[in-house]
């Protein structure tokens, strides 16, 4: 056996790594000398030795290992974050991304809900203001119509003026205007302020004997003693009416006079 054959017999042991130091040093020197046969034999022996791995009992790594590896590789790949992740990281990046997205969505939802609530409250306030404005306009419109109606009664030639002198000489005189179609208006100035929960009430006194006074509108003077009241549809015609009278009554008015008339004016 020549030296080459001796080295050739050691190739497998060298490939598996079991050669003792002295034998390994001699073989490596031989390989370094350029022995093509031994180099080729070593390449094949290394492949053969690698097949011994199949003697190991079959086992599978955990999914966490794959997750960590892919996390690192993706970070190093072109277009990746370029940051090497912590080796011991156990939470995958997609989960952090999910948590961040959920947090952002929650914050946005809370903000959006608050924004919508504010918008609804603002719309409600606007609607309330518009409703109040409309009510005010309607009241002003009614008042304007009444004023126009009263003005027409006071100015129309068909109207008949009725003076209502006070029974008390210290009290001012009232005046009324009766239009056959548009109704009756009555007004006064410098009328004394009434007691609490007391109002003035206008009465229609029929000509027919035995008939009771007919209750009409109630009213009260303002702080300056001025008032104006109107009856659009009197219950009886002017020709059937003897007089108009005004009494002081409890608030809400009465069906029959509870006291002596304070003002009375004959209808001619």
């Amino acid at each position: 056996m020549n030296s080459h054959d001796q080295f050739r017999e050691q190739i497998e042991a060298y490939a598996i790594g079991s050669l003792d130091d002295a034998d390994r040093a001699l073989l490596e020197a031989h390989l370094a000398s350029g022995c093509a046969n031994c180099v080729k034999a070593l390449e094949e022996a290394r492949w053969l030795v690698s097949q011994l791995a199949y003697l190991a009992p079959d086992a599978a790594p955990s999914d966490m290992l794959k997750g960590r590896l892919l996390q690192t590789v993706r970070a190093e790949a072109p277009g990746g974050s370029g940051q090497s992740p912590v080796r011991t990281a156990t939470v995958p990046s997609w989960l952090w991304a999910g948590v961040a997205a959920l947090l952002l969505f929650s914050v946005y939802s809370a903000w959006n809900e608050q924004r919508q609530r504010s918008a609804v409250a603002s719309l409600q306030q606007q609607a309330e203001a518009q409703r109040a404005e409309r009510q005010k306009l309607e009241q002003e419109l009614v008042a304007a119509k009444l004023q126009a109606h009263e003005a027409m009664i006071w100015s129309d030639p068909k109207s008949v003026k009725i003076m209502l002198p006070a029974k008390d000489p210290k009290m001012p005189q009232l005046e009324a205007m009766w239009h056959p179609e548009m109704g009756i208006c009555v007004r006064g100035w410098k009328v004394p302020t009434l007691a609490d929960k007391r109002v003035l009430q206008l009465w229609l006194i029929p000509k027919k004997a035995g008939s009771k006074p007919m209750p009409l509108v109630t009213f009260w003077p303002d702080a300056s003693g001025t008032f104006s009241a109107m009856v659009e549809n009197p219950p009886d015609a002017m020709s059937d009416t003897q007089a108009l009278a005004v009494t002081e009554e409890p608030i809400g008015g009465s069906q029959q006079p509870t006291g002596t008339p304070m003002w009375v004016g004959g209808v001619s």
Partner: protein, 195 residues
Amino acid sequence: MFLAAFSPKGSEQVSPDATLMQQLLRRDVGAFEELYERHSRIVYSLVLRILRQGPTAEEVVQDVFLQLWRNSSQYDVRRPLVPWLLTLARNRALDHLRLKSERQRRREEQTEEFPQIAAAAPEYERALDEKRRAERVRALIGSLPAAQKKAIELAYFEGLSHSEIAASLHEPLGTVKSWIRNGLLRLKEGLQASS
């Protein structure tokens, strides 16, 4: 058969690993994931057999595949990938198993880089698919006498030298040398016979 007769004789069939490694050279993460799916199980099985500790074994497997990813530019796609992965994994696992001795360092120098590992797979390498070849390896080594099989396992999985194995098994040094060499030659012949 009819179509095969018209195939260019001697044309080399590109292996799936070679295709994936070409994609890996272009930093394709999908190719890396596919390579991991294909080979992580045998790599982990080998490392776990050596270290016998799951968490440490996973650390080694992680290092092996990261080296595959980071040093893919050094890889020659004409060479088989799995022997390189297994050799690197074995070396890394043995490094963890005991402190690096001079012998360990030398082994690392021999096999750490791509060109020095299985530069040319034998002709019979493609005769069997991986699953059938694994079964054949287990059958062939399993058929050896128990002491001979033990000597090979001590060399491969424990990284022991001839002298260390002889001391461990209380056998003459020459016997251990013969067991290991003859056992590997029988494995080679058995795989050749299967082709």
